[in-house]
Symmetry: C2
Subunit: 220 residues, 2 copies
């Protein structure tokens, strides 16, 4: 019995890691679709979200079965409840990648990102891809150094997010309102994506150390 139990716990972990892999890839492709005005790639990101959702349901089911059949105590209970939270964060990350792809699709055949903002948006996309991969690594390894990196990556995303607003609101911004709307939305999507990775990381930190950065999670 205990072996099947630990197999299920491991399967839950693997399912979450797989979700981070799918979301990370979706973010990378959504960013490329956005910058290159690649309609086909955008469509692919949108349709691929079904795989994230399927994995989400799989993980939920595993967690629920563990709770129902094993009545886990203390540490394991905490871990399973945390997993339920983490899979929500990851599922939402997939949605945000889809939202970015939808902006790309809406503006096709134009690119939603004016040349002056391409490098900033690219950096947000790259960090988004990386931060989700790191979320997967921290789930798999509980390596707390990764949590620090994720916090730092998130700080950079927040800074880029503010920078983009700054550019949009400067007097010499000569782009269209349409571009401003798209940039505002996409920047917000990347910023939220990073928040979800941070939320995952903090839950792992809590499981390992028992110290919960509740204030900072809640003030996101």
């Amino acid at each position: 019995l205990r072996d099947a139990y630990h197999d299920d716990l491991n399967a839950l972990t693997e399912s979450m890691v797989e979700m981070t892999r799918l979301v990370s890839s979706a973010v990378a492709r959504a960013t490329t679709a956005l910058l290159d005005a690649d309609l086909e790639l955008a469509e692919k990101v949108i349709s691929s979200d079904a795989a994230v959702d399927a994995q989400y349901r799989n993980a939920e089911e595993l967690a629920f079965d563990l709770l129902a059949r094993q009545a886990p105590v203390a540490g394991d209970l905490r871990r399973i409840v945390a997993s339920l939270r983490m899979v929500s964060d990851l599922e939402r990350g997939g949605d945000l990648a889809v939202h970015i792809a939808e902006v790309a699709r809406r503006r096709y055949p134009s690119s939603a990102v004016p040349p002056a903002l391409r490098s900033t948006m690219l950096e947000m996309g790259q960090i988004g891809e990386r931060i989700m991969t790191k979320a997967g690594s921290i789930i798999a390894t509980s390596d707390l150094l990764l949590a620090e990196q994720i916090e730092q990556d998130d700080d950079v995303v927040d800074r880029l997010h503010r920078q983009l607003f700054h550019v949009l609101l400067e007097d010499d911004w000569d782009g269209s309102v349409e571009a401003a709307v798209d940039i505002t939305l996409c920047s917000r999507f990347y910023e939220r994506l990073a928040d979800h990775a941070v939320s995952v990381a903090r839950r792992v930190v809590y499981l390992v150390t028992g110290a919960y950065a509740a204030e900072s999670v809640l003030s996101q």
Copy 2:
């Protein structure tokens, strides 16, 4: 023992209802702060979110204790796990009210909403207030008619959200880029708020009927 158990389940429900009350009130006040450029009110919304967060932690603790000490089965387990999800939705609703208030604060002493868009934004705010109150009622009563109403309210918010974009992107929009950015953000915040109310309602529907609108929840 069973009585204490049901007291705890009821306390969890009450805690969630109290969260909806706090969030509904925060949305109403954030909307007023936004439309009237009322800095004091905006600050109050921002500082009052601590009460939502405290209630969130209280509800989480109740749910976790119920899982840990009672090893609930079947229906109760499902209910407690759903509660963990719902309190996340409600806590996030509080954050979104804060984000609206922050836009009001950032633009003070100007109003972030140009006259042409005031009525649309007001309607989004009113539905936001109402939909959170309905979320509270459905948690308290499991009245499935409310779930239908919440879905309908959400449809209206989605329509208003699209309408606002439409206005912003029309050729005769003569507002500033700054206003376009603020409207984009606030409209998105209201739209997400309604999504969280829908998510709460669907979880209650699932608990009552066993039929889970998984696709629709996930595709939000």
